[in-house]
């Protein structure tokens, strides 16, 4: 299974693992390839007794070329991978996708490129240092040899020569080592610290490359998921988020107690129930919705589809309406009845509308119903005792279309006499039908315009 499919199918936690693995398997090897190349150069030339400026220049050119190649590759791979990660997580808006890709490329890709440039610079410094120490040492060696030779009396040539060699080599080794360890890369090499010669110098602090890459990869995986969730929420109009832990934190956060709870910035939804929990406002002060969380935090806000009854009824109706087997727009006469509560009711309603010249036939009835849904200027949610909830779509001075909770067409009729409309409204109230006008119904109208 490809990474796209894996991410698309995965739950939040396994998605984090998949993304982390992808970053580790696609980007990190490119960094290690360069680090190993640089290490090889340091090891090879440390063993040399003499490094000329020409050799250093050649190595520098090779490293620059390799670094430039790897940086280009890393940036390109980061862009490609982040494109896959975001689209697999549901981001579809191309403008937003480009912005997100560029963000990851500039943030993570550039950081990785900086690391390569840092390793390159440290390698060059180490090689320079080897050259300096070896050449200086050679000069010192000649000076010492001359001094010793000038004081030589020749009494016991063999014995003195052995003593001279021992003293000279010990002193040479000490001086050589001391000088070499002045360079951090060579110091690591000589003292055999960790697995790598290089530590990534960032903001004046030294990091173990291996640990740093792992932590940075995980942060990017989290960051990618956080940003994808926000974008998906924006595109789909989701306003509710669930706080989830997807990575263990170094230390527990105060906001950990909210794991699994729902949050929203929409004050109208605060206090509403979702999956047996009450939706909170945006109350986590150190990690408000859309912000960057504190360092090391392993939480993300997962965008959650919160369907209120209006969206729910609308979506169910549209689903029925768009199913070919339910309603065939080329055969309205025989199929329009399929989206009514019952065929008997459909027949009764059609008979009434035709009788009072509100429609000519079933096709006209269908057209007027759809027209009303597309052009409605008022949506009312009506509730009757514990028996039902229905949505009334009305077009001013024209049609009313009523849809029940399971998305069936209850009725579609015309009240062409204003005096009847008022009476109808009054009588609804008398028998106990409760009405509330749906606010911000533009998104519902948008859905119907596509019918």
């Amino acid at each position: 299974m490809g990474v796209y499919a894996k991410i698309k199918k995965a739950g939040t936690q396994s998605r984090f693992s998949t993304i982390t693995e992808e970053i580790e398997s696609q980007i990190m090897p490119e960094i290690w390839k360069f680090v190993k190349k640089a290490e090889k150069n340091v090891y090879e030339h440390y063993a040399d007794r003499f490094i000329s400026n020409e050799v250093i220049d050649t190595v520098r050119k090779e490293l620059s070329f390799a670094a430039s190649e790897q940086v280009d590759l890393i940036l390109a791979k980061t862009a490609k991978l982040s494109g896959t990660l975001f689209t697999a997580q549901g981001v579809t808006d191309s403008k937003a996708l480009n912005t997100l890709i560029s963000y990851v490329k500039n943030d993570f890709g550039s950081d990785m490129s900086d690391m390569i440039l840092s390793v390159k610079s440290q390698t060059e410094k180490a090689l320079n240092h080897i050259s300096y120490v070896v050449n200086m040492q050679a000069t010192k060696d000649v000076g010492k040899l001359y001094k010793e030779l000038s004081q030589y009396t020749g009494d016991n040539l063999k014995k003195d020569l052995q003593a001279f060699q021992r003293v000279f080599s010990d002193q040479y080794a000490r001086d050589y080592m001391r000088e070499m360890t002045m360079n951090p890369v060579l110091n690591s090499l000589i003292k055999q610290e960790g697995n790598s010669l290089f530590f990534y110098n960032k903001n004046g602090r030294r990091y173990d490359i291996d640990k740093y890459l792992k932590a940075r990869g995980e942060f990017t995986a989290l960051d990618t998921m956080r940003k994808a969730q926000l974008q998906v929420a924006k595109e789909r109009g989701y306003e509710v988020f669930r706080l989830e832990r997807i990575k263990n934190a170094v230390e527990p956060r105060e906001h950990s107690k909210y794991e699994g709870d729902y949050f929203t910035k929409n004050t109208d939804l605060v206090g509403t129930e979702l999956n047996g929990k009450i939706i909170n406002g945006d109350i986590i002060t150190d990690f408000i919705i859309g912000s960057t969380p504190p360092y090391g935090c392993g939480h993300i806000y997962v965008a959650v589809e919160f369907k209120n009854i209006v969206d729910d009824i609308t979506d169910k109706f549209i689903e029925k309406f768009e199913k070919f087997e339910t309603i065939d727009k080329n055969n309205i006469e025989k199929t329009f009845k399929n989206i009514f509560e019952s065929v008997a009711k459909y027949n009764d309603h059609l008979k009434r509308r035709v009788k009072y010249n509100h429609v000519k036939d079933s096709k006209d009835y269908f057209d007027k119903t759809v027209e009303c849904l597309k052009n409605c200027d008022k949506i009312i949610l009506e509730e009757f005792e514990d028996k039902w909830k229905k949505l009334y779509f009305s077009e001013k001075d024209s049609w009313v279309v009523i849809i029940n909770e399971i998305g069936e067409l209850v009725s579609s009729y015309l009240i062409d006499r204003p005096n009847l409309q008022n009476k109808l409204d009054t009588n609804r109230g008398v028998i106990g039908v409760k009405s509330s006008e749906v606010e911000n119904y533009e998104r519902i109208r948008r859905k119907f315009r596509l019918l």
């Binding site: 009788k355 009757f384 009729y413």
Partner: protein, 98 residues
């Protein structure tokens, strides 16, 4: 057909074609028509008034038949009966008695 005639006709249609499992909205439309008739009762001809009395009696009979069922239309029929039909018949019977 003027508005009053149309409303009377609608009421007649409901009395003759009532579906117990219909939607409450359909019967509520009828109740609005019945309200309109009530408001313009004085404009009814004798023939129309007699027809209304017959329809109201039918509606009362219908309500008696269905009142103990769980259908939502019962509420709308009850409203027509209690708010308009019974009142009209009472007035009619009173006038007749006088």
């Amino acid at each position: 057909m003027n508005e009053l005639e149309e409303s009377l006709d609608y009421y007649k249609y409901e009395c003759e074609n009532f579906m117990i499992d219909n939607n409450i909205e359909e019967v509520l439309i009828t109740s609005a028509h019945r309200d309109f008739i009530d408001e313009h009762k004085k404009e009814l001809s004798k023939k129309q008034l007699n027809e209304l009395i017959i329809l109201d009696k039918k509606m009362i009979g219908l309500y008696e038949e269905i009142r103990d069922t769980k259908y939502e239309t019962v509420s709308a029929i009850k409203l027509i009966v209690e708010k308009y039909a019974l009142k009209t018949i009472l007035e009619y019977e009173t006038k007749k008695a006088v």
